[in-house]
Point group: C2
DNA sequence: ACCTGAACACCGTTCAAGT
DNA sequence: ACCTGAACACCGTTCAAGT
Protein backbone atom coordinates (compact mmCIF):
# COMPACT_ATOMS: atom_id res chain seq x y z
CA UNK A 1 0.00 0.00 0.00
CA UNK A 2 1.78 3.12 -1.24
CA UNK A 3 -0.67 5.83 -0.24
CA UNK A 4 0.85 9.21 -1.08
CA UNK A 5 1.42 11.38 1.98
CA UNK A 6 -1.54 13.35 3.22
CA UNK A 7 -1.01 17.15 3.02
CA UNK A 8 -2.17 18.23 -0.44
CA UNK A 9 0.74 20.38 -1.55
CA UNK A 10 1.82 20.80 -5.15
CA UNK A 11 -0.52 19.80 -8.00
CA UNK A 12 -3.93 18.38 -7.20
CA UNK A 13 -3.73 14.69 -8.00
CA UNK A 14 -5.56 13.47 -11.09
CA UNK A 15 -5.24 9.93 -9.79
CA UNK A 16 -6.16 8.21 -6.56
CA UNK A 17 -6.64 4.65 -5.40
CA UNK A 18 -10.43 4.61 -5.38
CA UNK A 19 -10.87 6.07 -8.85
CA UNK A 20 -8.18 3.77 -10.21
CA UNK A 21 -9.89 0.69 -8.79
CA UNK A 22 -13.26 1.73 -10.19
CA UNK A 23 -11.81 2.41 -13.63
CA UNK A 24 -9.95 -0.90 -13.53
CA UNK A 25 -13.18 -2.75 -12.71
CA UNK A 26 -14.94 -0.99 -15.58
CA UNK A 27 -12.15 -1.98 -17.92
CA UNK A 28 -12.32 -5.54 -16.58
CA UNK A 29 -16.01 -5.72 -17.42
CA UNK A 30 -15.47 -4.33 -20.89
CA UNK A 31 -12.42 -6.31 -21.94
CA UNK A 32 -11.67 -9.10 -19.46
CA UNK A 33 -8.67 -9.83 -17.27
CA UNK A 34 -6.26 -10.66 -20.08
CA UNK A 35 -6.80 -7.25 -21.64
CA UNK A 36 -6.41 -5.41 -18.34
CA UNK A 37 -2.88 -4.04 -18.65
CA UNK A 38 -1.32 -1.19 -16.76
CA UNK A 39 -0.88 0.67 -20.04
CA UNK A 40 -4.51 0.31 -21.07
CA UNK A 41 -5.71 1.27 -17.62
CA UNK A 42 -3.44 4.33 -17.64
CA UNK A 43 -4.83 5.21 -21.05
CA UNK A 44 -8.38 5.00 -19.74
CA UNK A 45 -7.38 7.43 -16.98
CA UNK A 46 -5.59 9.85 -19.29
CA UNK A 47 -2.21 9.23 -17.76
CA UNK A 48 1.08 7.41 -18.44
CA UNK A 49 1.47 3.84 -17.17
CA UNK A 50 4.26 4.74 -14.76
CA UNK A 51 1.99 7.13 -12.91
CA UNK A 52 -0.11 4.23 -11.57
CA UNK A 53 2.85 3.06 -9.53
CA UNK A 54 2.48 6.04 -7.24
CA UNK A 55 -0.75 4.46 -5.99
CA UNK A 56 -0.13 0.73 -6.33
CA UNK A 57 3.32 -0.75 -5.82
CA UNK A 58 2.57 -3.61 -8.23
CA UNK A 59 -0.19 -4.75 -10.55
CA UNK A 60 -0.85 -7.54 -8.03
CA UNK A 61 -1.66 -4.90 -5.40
CA UNK A 62 -4.12 -3.29 -7.77
CA UNK A 63 -5.77 -6.66 -8.43
CA UNK A 64 -6.03 -7.25 -4.68
CA UNK A 65 -7.76 -3.89 -4.24
CA UNK A 66 -10.11 -4.80 -7.08
CA UNK A 67 -10.93 -8.16 -5.46
CA UNK A 68 -11.61 -6.48 -2.15
CA UNK A 69 -13.89 -3.92 -3.82
CA UNK A 70 -15.79 -6.63 -5.68
CA UNK A 71 -16.90 -8.38 -2.50
CA UNK A 72 -18.15 -5.21 -0.85
CA UNK A 73 -21.49 -5.84 0.81
CA UNK A 74 -21.16 -9.61 0.79
CA UNK A 75 -20.63 -9.65 4.55
CA UNK A 76 -23.97 -7.85 4.97
CA UNK A 77 -25.77 -10.80 3.40
CA UNK A 78 -27.11 -11.79 6.74
CA UNK A 79 -30.70 -12.52 7.66
CA UNK A 80 -33.23 -9.66 7.77
CA UNK A 81 -33.62 -9.98 11.50
CA UNK A 82 -31.10 -12.68 12.23
CA UNK A 83 -33.92 -15.11 13.01
CA UNK A 84 -32.93 -17.48 10.22
CA UNK A 85 -31.35 -20.76 11.12
CA UNK A 86 -27.61 -21.07 10.70
CA UNK A 87 -27.69 -23.12 7.50
CA UNK A 88 -29.80 -20.51 5.73
CA UNK A 89 -27.37 -17.81 6.90
CA UNK A 90 -24.40 -19.74 5.56
CA UNK A 91 -26.23 -20.33 2.28
CA UNK A 92 -26.98 -16.62 2.04
CA UNK A 93 -23.31 -15.71 2.51
CA UNK A 94 -22.12 -18.27 -0.03
CA UNK A 95 -24.70 -17.13 -2.57
CA UNK A 96 -23.75 -13.51 -1.99
CA UNK A 97 -20.09 -14.33 -2.64
CA UNK A 98 -20.92 -16.12 -5.89
CA UNK A 99 -23.18 -13.25 -6.97
CA UNK A 100 -20.49 -10.69 -6.21
CA UNK A 101 -17.91 -12.60 -8.25
CA UNK A 102 -20.35 -13.04 -11.13
CA UNK A 103 -21.02 -9.30 -11.15
CA UNK A 104 -17.67 -8.66 -12.85
CA UNK A 105 -16.24 -10.37 -15.89
CA UNK A 106 -13.50 -12.76 -14.72
CA UNK A 107 -14.42 -11.82 -11.15
CA UNK A 108 -13.62 -15.27 -9.76
CA UNK A 109 -10.28 -15.31 -11.55
CA UNK A 110 -9.34 -11.98 -10.02
CA UNK A 111 -10.52 -13.07 -6.58
CA UNK A 112 -8.79 -16.46 -6.72
CA UNK A 113 -5.52 -14.83 -7.74
CA UNK A 114 -5.34 -12.46 -4.79
CA UNK A 115 -5.44 -12.59 -1.00
CA UNK A 116 -7.14 -9.51 0.34
CA UNK A 117 -7.06 -8.77 4.04
CA UNK A 118 -9.43 -5.84 3.62
CA UNK A 119 -12.66 -5.31 5.59
CA UNK A 120 -14.95 -6.82 2.95
CA UNK A 121 -13.01 -10.07 2.74
CA UNK A 122 -12.40 -10.32 6.46
CA UNK A 123 -15.96 -9.27 7.22
CA UNK A 124 -17.30 -12.13 5.12
CA UNK A 125 -15.00 -14.61 6.86
CA UNK A 126 -15.81 -13.30 10.31
CA UNK A 127 -19.52 -13.38 9.57
CA UNK A 128 -19.51 -16.94 8.31
CA UNK A 129 -17.44 -18.24 11.19
CA UNK A 130 -19.62 -16.26 13.58
CA UNK A 131 -22.82 -17.88 12.34
CA UNK A 132 -21.34 -21.33 12.82
CA UNK A 133 -19.89 -20.62 16.26
CA UNK A 134 -23.25 -19.25 17.36
CA UNK A 135 -24.84 -22.46 16.09
CA UNK A 136 -22.65 -24.53 18.36
CA UNK A 137 -19.85 -25.57 16.05
CA UNK A 138 -16.37 -25.67 17.52
CA UNK A 139 -13.75 -23.11 16.55
CA UNK A 140 -11.98 -25.68 14.41
CA UNK A 141 -15.13 -26.77 12.63
CA UNK A 142 -16.24 -23.21 11.99
CA UNK A 143 -12.87 -22.12 10.62
CA UNK A 144 -12.50 -25.14 8.39
CA UNK A 145 -16.07 -24.84 7.18
CA UNK A 146 -15.27 -21.29 6.08
CA UNK A 147 -12.44 -22.64 3.95
CA UNK A 148 -14.56 -25.42 2.49
CA UNK A 149 -17.43 -23.10 1.58
CA UNK A 150 -15.05 -20.48 0.15
CA UNK A 151 -13.01 -22.93 -1.90
CA UNK A 152 -16.11 -24.56 -3.30
CA UNK A 153 -17.76 -21.23 -4.12
CA UNK A 154 -14.69 -19.74 -5.78
CA UNK A 155 -13.90 -23.00 -7.57
CA UNK A 156 -17.45 -23.26 -8.87
CA UNK A 157 -17.59 -19.65 -10.02
CA UNK A 158 -14.19 -19.96 -11.70
CA UNK A 159 -15.64 -22.75 -13.84
CA UNK A 160 -18.92 -20.97 -14.36
CA UNK A 161 -17.20 -17.88 -15.73
CA UNK A 162 -14.76 -19.94 -17.78
CA UNK A 163 -17.72 -21.67 -19.38
CA UNK A 164 -19.11 -18.30 -20.40
CA UNK A 165 -15.95 -17.12 -22.12
CA UNK A 166 -15.90 -17.74 -25.86
CA UNK A 167 -12.19 -18.65 -26.23
CA UNK A 168 -12.00 -21.48 -23.76
CA UNK A 169 -14.96 -23.31 -22.40
CA UNK A 170 -17.64 -21.17 -23.97
CA UNK A 171 -20.62 -22.69 -25.74
CA UNK A 172 -17.86 -24.67 -27.46
CA UNK A 173 -16.89 -26.50 -24.28
CA UNK A 174 -20.01 -28.62 -24.12
CA UNK A 175 -19.41 -29.63 -27.72
CA UNK A 176 -15.76 -30.43 -27.12
CA UNK A 177 -16.61 -32.59 -24.13
CA UNK A 178 -19.41 -34.39 -25.94
CA UNK A 179 -17.13 -35.01 -28.90
CA UNK A 180 -14.29 -36.35 -26.76
CA UNK A 181 -16.60 -38.63 -24.80
CA UNK A 182 -18.43 -39.98 -27.84
CA UNK A 183 -15.28 -40.36 -29.94
CA UNK A 184 -13.46 -42.34 -27.27
CA UNK A 185 -16.50 -44.49 -26.60
CA UNK A 186 -14.93 -45.68 -23.38
CA UNK A 187 -16.58 -43.43 -20.82
CA UNK A 188 -20.01 -44.94 -20.21
CA UNK A 189 -20.75 -42.83 -17.13
CA UNK A 190 -19.80 -39.57 -18.81
CA UNK A 191 -21.89 -40.53 -21.81
CA UNK A 192 -24.89 -41.31 -19.61
CA UNK A 193 -24.63 -38.04 -17.71
CA UNK A 194 -23.67 -35.73 -20.58
CA UNK A 195 -26.94 -33.79 -20.46
CA UNK A 196 -26.26 -32.82 -16.85
CA UNK A 197 -22.53 -32.32 -17.33
CA UNK A 198 -23.09 -29.91 -20.20
CA UNK A 199 -26.06 -28.15 -18.63
CA UNK A 200 -25.64 -24.40 -18.34
CA UNK A 201 -27.89 -24.18 -15.30
CA UNK A 202 -24.98 -23.21 -13.10
CA UNK A 203 -27.24 -22.12 -10.28
CA UNK A 204 -28.50 -25.68 -10.02
CA UNK A 205 -24.94 -27.00 -9.91
CA UNK A 206 -24.01 -24.48 -7.25
CA UNK A 207 -27.08 -25.16 -5.13
CA UNK A 208 -26.43 -28.90 -5.25
CA UNK A 209 -22.87 -28.44 -3.97
CA UNK A 210 -23.98 -25.97 -1.35
CA UNK A 211 -26.63 -28.41 -0.16
CA UNK A 212 -24.00 -31.15 0.19
CA UNK A 213 -21.90 -28.88 2.35
CA UNK A 214 -24.82 -27.80 4.55
CA UNK A 215 -26.07 -31.36 4.95
CA UNK A 216 -22.52 -32.34 5.77
CA UNK A 217 -22.32 -29.65 8.41
CA UNK A 218 -25.59 -30.82 9.93
CA UNK A 219 -24.20 -34.34 10.11
CA UNK A 220 -20.96 -33.16 11.71
CA UNK A 221 -22.92 -31.28 14.34
CA UNK A 222 -24.69 -34.54 15.18
CA UNK B 1 -3.37 -30.41 -31.43
CA UNK B 2 -0.80 -29.82 -34.16
CA UNK B 3 0.81 -33.23 -34.41
CA UNK B 4 3.28 -33.17 -37.31
CA UNK B 5 2.35 -35.63 -40.02
CA UNK B 6 3.45 -39.20 -39.53
CA UNK B 7 5.94 -40.36 -42.18
CA UNK B 8 9.42 -39.51 -40.86
CA UNK B 9 10.98 -37.87 -43.89
CA UNK B 10 13.62 -35.16 -43.76
CA UNK B 11 15.53 -34.47 -40.54
CA UNK B 12 14.78 -36.56 -37.45
CA UNK B 13 12.89 -34.33 -35.06
CA UNK B 14 14.73 -33.09 -31.97
CA UNK B 15 11.40 -32.13 -30.48
CA UNK B 16 8.16 -33.93 -29.85
CA UNK B 17 5.09 -33.42 -27.72
CA UNK B 18 5.89 -35.92 -24.99
CA UNK B 19 9.45 -34.70 -24.40
CA UNK B 20 8.30 -31.10 -24.48
CA UNK B 21 5.62 -31.73 -21.84
CA UNK B 22 8.09 -33.56 -19.58
CA UNK B 23 10.67 -30.81 -19.89
CA UNK B 24 7.99 -28.19 -19.25
CA UNK B 25 6.91 -30.01 -16.07
CA UNK B 26 10.53 -30.19 -14.92
CA UNK B 27 10.93 -26.48 -15.54
CA UNK B 28 7.66 -25.85 -13.69
CA UNK B 29 8.97 -27.69 -10.66
CA UNK B 30 12.26 -25.81 -10.72
CA UNK B 31 11.02 -22.31 -11.35
CA UNK B 32 7.25 -22.10 -11.01
CA UNK B 33 4.52 -21.15 -13.44
CA UNK B 34 5.43 -17.48 -13.72
CA UNK B 35 8.93 -18.39 -14.91
CA UNK B 36 7.68 -20.95 -17.41
CA UNK B 37 7.99 -19.04 -20.68
CA UNK B 38 8.15 -20.42 -24.19
CA UNK B 39 11.64 -18.94 -24.55
CA UNK B 40 12.97 -20.53 -21.36
CA UNK B 41 11.40 -23.86 -22.26
CA UNK B 42 12.91 -23.69 -25.74
CA UNK B 43 16.26 -22.91 -24.13
CA UNK B 44 16.00 -25.96 -21.90
CA UNK B 45 15.38 -28.04 -25.01
CA UNK B 46 18.21 -26.50 -27.02
CA UNK B 47 15.93 -24.95 -29.57
CA UNK B 48 14.49 -21.58 -30.58
CA UNK B 49 11.13 -20.52 -29.13
CA UNK B 50 9.37 -20.55 -32.48
CA UNK B 51 10.14 -24.25 -32.93
CA UNK B 52 7.75 -25.15 -30.11
CA UNK B 53 4.83 -23.95 -32.19
CA UNK B 54 5.23 -26.90 -34.52
CA UNK B 55 4.04 -29.11 -31.64
CA UNK B 56 1.68 -26.85 -29.70
CA UNK B 57 -0.42 -24.24 -31.43
CA UNK B 58 -0.42 -22.01 -28.34
CA UNK B 59 1.10 -21.90 -24.88
CA UNK B 60 -2.37 -22.65 -23.56
CA UNK B 61 -2.35 -25.95 -25.47
CA UNK B 62 0.97 -26.82 -23.89
CA UNK B 63 -0.39 -26.03 -20.43
CA UNK B 64 -3.42 -28.24 -21.13
CA UNK B 65 -1.14 -31.12 -22.09
CA UNK B 66 0.85 -30.53 -18.89
CA UNK B 67 -2.34 -30.60 -16.81
CA UNK B 68 -3.45 -33.82 -18.46
CA UNK B 69 -0.05 -35.40 -17.81
CA UNK B 70 -0.08 -34.33 -14.17
CA UNK B 71 -3.25 -36.24 -13.37
CA UNK B 72 -2.04 -39.46 -14.95
CA UNK B 73 -2.90 -42.41 -12.74
CA UNK B 74 -5.46 -40.53 -10.67
CA UNK B 75 -8.28 -42.47 -12.29
CA UNK B 76 -6.66 -45.70 -11.13
CA UNK B 77 -7.06 -44.65 -7.53
CA UNK B 78 -9.82 -47.13 -7.08
CA UNK B 79 -10.16 -49.73 -4.36
CA UNK B 80 -7.79 -52.74 -4.34
CA UNK B 81 -10.60 -55.12 -5.14
CA UNK B 82 -13.46 -52.69 -5.51
CA UNK B 83 -14.98 -53.97 -2.30
CA UNK B 84 -14.79 -50.60 -0.60
CA UNK B 85 -17.95 -48.66 -0.04
CA UNK B 86 -18.70 -45.80 -2.39
CA UNK B 87 -17.73 -43.02 0.00
CA UNK B 88 -14.27 -44.46 0.49
CA UNK B 89 -13.85 -44.76 -3.28
CA UNK B 90 -14.85 -41.14 -3.78
CA UNK B 91 -12.47 -40.09 -1.01
CA UNK B 92 -9.68 -42.05 -2.65
CA UNK B 93 -10.25 -40.32 -5.98
CA UNK B 94 -10.38 -36.87 -4.42
CA UNK B 95 -7.21 -37.52 -2.41
CA UNK B 96 -5.46 -38.84 -5.50
CA UNK B 97 -6.36 -35.67 -7.40
CA UNK B 98 -5.02 -33.44 -4.63
CA UNK B 99 -1.84 -35.51 -4.40
CA UNK B 100 -1.30 -35.33 -8.15
CA UNK B 101 -1.69 -31.55 -8.15
CA UNK B 102 0.62 -31.20 -5.17
CA UNK B 103 3.28 -33.25 -6.96
CA UNK B 104 4.15 -30.29 -9.18
CA UNK B 105 4.88 -26.75 -8.15
CA UNK B 106 1.84 -24.60 -9.05
CA UNK B 107 0.12 -27.81 -10.14
CA UNK B 108 -3.33 -26.62 -9.08
CA UNK B 109 -2.82 -23.30 -10.85
CA UNK B 110 -1.94 -25.09 -14.09
CA UNK B 111 -4.87 -27.48 -13.73
CA UNK B 112 -7.39 -24.78 -12.84
CA UNK B 113 -6.31 -22.70 -15.82
CA UNK B 114 -6.92 -25.41 -18.40
CA UNK B 115 -9.69 -27.76 -19.53
CA UNK B 116 -8.25 -31.04 -20.63
CA UNK B 117 -10.43 -33.57 -22.39
CA UNK B 118 -7.65 -36.18 -22.34
CA UNK B 119 -7.99 -39.73 -21.01
CA UNK B 120 -6.57 -38.97 -17.57
CA UNK B 121 -8.99 -36.15 -16.89
CA UNK B 122 -11.98 -37.90 -18.44
CA UNK B 123 -11.02 -41.18 -16.77
CA UNK B 124 -11.10 -39.51 -13.38
CA UNK B 125 -14.49 -37.97 -14.09
CA UNK B 126 -15.93 -41.19 -15.47
CA UNK B 127 -14.62 -43.15 -12.51
CA UNK B 128 -16.06 -40.81 -9.92
CA UNK B 129 -19.46 -40.64 -11.58
CA UNK B 130 -19.38 -44.41 -12.04
CA UNK B 131 -18.83 -45.03 -8.35
CA UNK B 132 -21.79 -42.86 -7.46
CA UNK B 133 -24.11 -44.30 -10.09
CA UNK B 134 -23.25 -47.80 -8.89
CA UNK B 135 -24.09 -46.67 -5.37
CA UNK B 136 -27.57 -45.70 -6.43
CA UNK B 137 -27.24 -41.97 -7.03
CA UNK B 138 -29.14 -40.53 -9.94
CA UNK B 139 -27.33 -39.34 -13.06
CA UNK B 140 -27.89 -35.73 -12.06
CA UNK B 141 -26.65 -36.26 -8.52
CA UNK B 142 -23.58 -38.16 -9.68
CA UNK B 143 -22.62 -35.57 -12.31
CA UNK B 144 -23.12 -32.65 -9.97
CA UNK B 145 -21.24 -34.39 -7.19
CA UNK B 146 -18.29 -34.74 -9.56
CA UNK B 147 -18.29 -30.98 -10.06
CA UNK B 148 -18.61 -30.28 -6.35
CA UNK B 149 -15.78 -32.62 -5.39
CA UNK B 150 -13.56 -31.34 -8.21
CA UNK B 151 -14.17 -27.66 -7.50
CA UNK B 152 -13.53 -28.16 -3.80
CA UNK B 153 -10.38 -30.19 -4.37
CA UNK B 154 -8.90 -27.81 -6.92
CA UNK B 155 -9.94 -24.76 -4.89
CA UNK B 156 -8.38 -26.20 -1.76
CA UNK B 157 -5.14 -27.16 -3.48
CA UNK B 158 -4.92 -23.77 -5.15
CA UNK B 159 -4.89 -22.19 -1.69
CA UNK B 160 -2.59 -24.81 -0.27
CA UNK B 161 0.03 -24.19 -2.91
CA UNK B 162 -0.42 -20.43 -2.72
CA UNK B 163 0.26 -20.65 1.00
CA UNK B 164 3.52 -22.42 0.29
CA UNK B 165 4.82 -19.81 -2.12
CA UNK B 166 7.08 -17.20 -0.53
CA UNK B 167 5.90 -14.12 -2.50
CA UNK B 168 2.23 -14.27 -1.76
CA UNK B 169 0.69 -16.27 1.02
CA UNK B 170 3.85 -18.00 2.17
CA UNK B 171 4.79 -18.20 5.82
CA UNK B 172 4.10 -14.49 5.64
CA UNK B 173 0.40 -14.99 5.00
CA UNK B 174 -0.40 -16.23 8.46
CA UNK B 175 1.39 -13.20 9.87
CA UNK B 176 -0.39 -10.80 7.55
CA UNK B 177 -3.78 -12.23 8.48
CA UNK B 178 -3.02 -12.18 12.19
CA UNK B 179 -1.83 -8.59 11.93
CA UNK B 180 -4.89 -7.46 9.98
CA UNK B 181 -7.28 -9.17 12.38
CA UNK B 182 -5.57 -7.94 15.53
CA UNK B 183 -5.03 -4.41 14.22
CA UNK B 184 -8.67 -3.97 13.23
CA UNK B 185 -9.87 -5.45 16.53
CA UNK B 186 -13.32 -5.83 15.02
CA UNK B 187 -13.30 -9.48 13.96
CA UNK B 188 -13.99 -11.46 17.13
CA UNK B 189 -14.63 -14.75 15.34
CA UNK B 190 -11.49 -14.53 13.22
CA UNK B 191 -9.50 -13.66 16.32
CA UNK B 192 -10.91 -16.64 18.20
CA UNK B 193 -10.19 -19.07 15.39
CA UNK B 194 -6.82 -17.68 14.25
CA UNK B 195 -4.89 -20.78 15.37
CA UNK B 196 -6.98 -22.95 13.07
CA UNK B 197 -7.16 -20.41 10.26
CA UNK B 198 -3.38 -20.09 10.18
CA UNK B 199 -2.66 -23.78 10.69
CA UNK B 200 -0.48 -25.32 8.01
CA UNK B 201 -2.03 -28.76 8.46
CA UNK B 202 -3.62 -28.60 5.03
CA UNK B 203 -4.42 -32.29 5.04
CA UNK B 204 -6.67 -31.73 8.03
CA UNK B 205 -8.42 -28.86 6.24
CA UNK B 206 -8.86 -30.99 3.14
CA UNK B 207 -10.15 -33.99 5.04
CA UNK B 208 -12.68 -31.85 6.89
CA UNK B 209 -14.10 -30.48 3.66
CA UNK B 210 -14.10 -33.91 2.06
CA UNK B 211 -15.98 -35.30 5.02
CA UNK B 212 -18.62 -32.58 4.71
CA UNK B 213 -19.15 -33.52 1.08
CA UNK B 214 -19.35 -37.24 1.77
CA UNK B 215 -21.70 -36.77 4.71
CA UNK B 216 -23.74 -34.49 2.49
CA UNK B 217 -23.90 -37.16 -0.20
CA UNK B 218 -25.03 -39.71 2.36
CA UNK B 219 -27.80 -37.36 3.45
CA UNK B 220 -28.88 -36.72 -0.13
CA UNK B 221 -29.10 -40.45 -0.76
CA UNK B 222 -31.49 -40.73 2.19
C1' DA C 1 3.87 16.35 -5.16
C1' DC C 2 2.55 14.44 -9.24
C1' DC C 3 3.25 12.99 -13.67
C1' DT C 4 5.95 12.45 -18.27
C1' DG C 5 9.18 10.26 -21.30
C1' DA C 6 11.96 6.99 -22.14
C1' DA C 7 14.11 3.17 -21.23
C1' DC C 8 15.06 -1.92 -19.42
C1' DA C 9 14.25 -6.52 -19.75
C1' DC C 10 11.29 -9.16 -21.07
C1' DC C 11 6.75 -11.64 -23.31
C1' DG C 12 3.70 -14.93 -27.06
C1' DT C 13 3.48 -15.61 -31.73
C1' DT C 14 4.50 -15.55 -36.83
C1' DC C 15 6.96 -16.62 -40.83
C1' DA C 16 10.35 -16.30 -44.57
C1' DA C 17 14.46 -18.58 -45.19
C1' DG C 18 17.84 -22.14 -44.55
C1' DT C 19 19.21 -27.24 -44.35
C1' DA D 1 10.23 -31.83 -42.46
C1' DC D 2 12.19 -29.35 -39.01
C1' DC D 3 14.27 -25.56 -37.15
C1' DT D 4 16.58 -20.70 -37.24
C1' DG D 5 16.59 -15.73 -37.21
C1' DA D 6 14.38 -11.96 -36.97
C1' DA D 7 10.72 -9.45 -36.45
C1' DC D 8 5.86 -7.69 -34.60
C1' DA D 9 3.25 -6.00 -31.11
C1' DC D 10 3.13 -5.98 -26.95
C1' DC D 11 4.14 -6.52 -21.40
C1' DG D 12 5.37 -4.79 -15.98
C1' DT D 13 8.32 -1.79 -13.84
C1' DT D 14 11.77 1.96 -12.90
C1' DC D 15 13.40 6.52 -12.65
C1' DA D 16 15.53 10.89 -14.05
C1' DA D 17 13.54 14.99 -15.38
C1' DG D 18 9.99 18.39 -15.86
C1' DT D 19 6.20 21.41 -13.79
Amino acid sequence: MSTPSSPARGRPARLNQARTVRTALDLLNESGLDALTMRRLADAMGVQAGALYRYFATKQDLLTAMAEHMVGGVADATGPAGDDDWSEEVARLARALRTALLAHRDGARVYAGTHSTGPNTLGFADGLIGVLRAAGFSDGEAARALYTVSHFTVGHTLEEQAALRPEDGGPANAGVLREAVVEAGTYPHLAATLPVLTSTDFTAHFEFGLRLLLDGLRAVRR
